[in-house]
Amino acid sequence: MKAKVAFIGNPNVGKTELFNRFTGQHQHVGNWPGVTVEKKVGKCVCYGNELEIVDLPGTYSLTAYSIDELIARNFIIEEKPDVVVDIIDSTNLERNLYLTLSLLEMDANVVVALNMWDIARNKGMEIDVKKLEELLGVPVVTTVAITGEGIEKLKETIVKAIKGKRRKIEWSYGKDVEEVIKELQEIISKEEKFKDYPSRWLAIKIIEGDEEIIKKIEESKYKDELLKIASRIKDGETVIAERRYKIIGKIIEEVLKKEEEEWSFSDMLDHVFLHPIFGIPIFLALMYVAFQFTFSFSAPFSDMIDTFFSWLGEIAKNNISNAMMASFISDAVLAGVGSVLVFVPPIFSLFFALSLLENSGYLARAAVVMDRIMHKIGLHGKSIISMIMGFGCNIPGILAARTIENKRDRIITVMINPLMSCSARLPVYILLAGVIFKSSAMAGAAVFSMYLLGVGLAIIMAMIFRKFLFGGEPPTFIIELPRYMFPKISNAARDMWEKGKWFIIKAGTFIFLVAIIVWFLSSFPWEATHGGVYIENSYAALLGHAIEPALRPFGWRWQAGVALFFGFLAKEAIVGTFGALAGESASVAVATWFTPLTGFAYMAFVLIYFPCVATLIVMLREIGKKYTLITITYTISLAFIVAGLIELIGYAVGIT
């Protein structure tokens, strides 16, 4: 049997982990029609049933206020999933049950998953699951998504629920409200237009003054009557919200036998991490540690890979008699694969570090700490999360901006994201800095300075955009902080693999293809280049010379120009291009092409000059044509300005 199942829950309840447990690799990520909110759909075969699982956006309630909530709610009303799995944080029933009650009012066929059960257990909380089932009228299963505990039971329960019908339980919102609900329901049942909606839910929404529902009501001939009845409850949305929590209070009284408030340690940490003065230095220090970890930990692995592929290339050259074939295998294929794999260690380390920060609960604190500054520059505290994600890859960074409700804040956050130095640019810095600076400490500082430069420019651009594109209305900030947790290494490892995969697959194929194209452009015409020996006679040189006039003032050679051209496709291709143009190890070539100053300016140029094609595609989808065009224009202009300034200042103080 086939069935449609929806997963829903508050943010930070482990919904994604549970979704991954169910669907494994069988996931499809797309968009909800007409809007730019990500839609994840997965398949799972459970006890002979084929379940199509839709991961609804994480929400606290189901109002018409935010697009995420509207999507979740319309899906449940219109698509009528066979089962709605409501994932709850066991340690916080009160807040989580708010969504549960909203779901039950919608007549959804709910199965409750009491997730994070282990934490509740360790805290000494005692929750009467049987009683909760009885009070809610739906099955309740305890789960621990990160270890897999209770997953089988949940699958079983979902399959049973497909056919089963839940007991309908109605909680009283108080005599005054219930009277109004009843009267509204009577009229609603007469209207053909409303027959798809659960009448009690619709009545409550009318009392709440829900924008979307009021729009629907206005199409009806009963509109005046309905609105008049509903107006008897003054400030309906507040009354409903308050009383819903009151109902929850009663449920909890019966269900929660023993509660241990275990926030003291977490609160203690927040006094340190959210400290008005030390908060920001701590944030910077943690970021610095994360990046140093990324570089120093991964460096030996990268060196090993590099050496291995150079050695393999030599063997290929010495053993293949056909010159063109030998060149193709060693300079295109092996060099291409090598240039992909060399960056796997630092990029995976980076994702590992970011995952530790996120799973420990610190990343949400970073948003709080930075809100003060972000607010000043016209951004939202949540923008920092988008920016930090951007350090991994601009694509998730841009997608992370979706959590910002205000459209203007979101657009600005997306537009500045390409200035966040993504991990694909890291290889370029590592290569350049490693070669042009003598000491490794200098090189490390130079690489770190690229990140600071990007952030600095992002701040300036954000202020400019806020001022000239949008009259600055101050963004509002509110975020739930999850409990600090000791991050599990195994989770960080899985996260690292999930996020790092894109590099091997997407970036990998891209770099590999580019490496082959570059090999072709730099080795042909075959006769003229003598099989890639005289690159100055190749097609690539032609291309480089065409770009060179624009780059000559900066002291960059045509090779640097060719690399920039290929960098349009994907920034990581710049390194591959260097390698192919040099014909041997990229680092040797770079040493002759750049001085410390021109190399450093080139690093800055690479940071700024253009978002990669993949980023542009995502950006186009998120903020539209106009703002994407503005982004392209400003990045190109800014790159020339900044690189020029670096060199001018350098020459002025006597650095070459």
Binding site: S61, E211, D267, I478, I479
Partner: protein, 80 residues
């Protein structure tokens, strides 16, 4: 001390202080968001960390919510 003196914006509360929300003067959208996160009139909140210019961290219905200064100025609380 009379009642009105005791009603202040959440932003002015000091760490460790507790209060009950009296009113949210933030318009439709803001109120909706706050309700879903547990901040309704009559709910009891406790300030954990407060920053002179940054967000304020409160305990509300057993969860920790950080609220930006601007928003915290519009949430009125009676000290208890």
């Amino acid at each position: 001390m009379n009642m009105t003196n005791n009603i202040i914006p959440l932003a002015f509360m000091a760490p460790g202080e507790r209060g009950q929300i009296v009113e949210i003067r933030g318009g439709y959208g803001m109120a909706k968001r706050l309700y879903g996160m547990g901040l309704t009139p009559n709910s009891v909140i406790e300030v954990i960390v407060s920053n002179p210019a940054g967000p304020i961290l409160v305990n509300v219905r057993g969860s920790r919510v950080a609220i930006g200064k601007g928003m915290a100025m519009k949430i009125f609380v009676r000290r208890i």
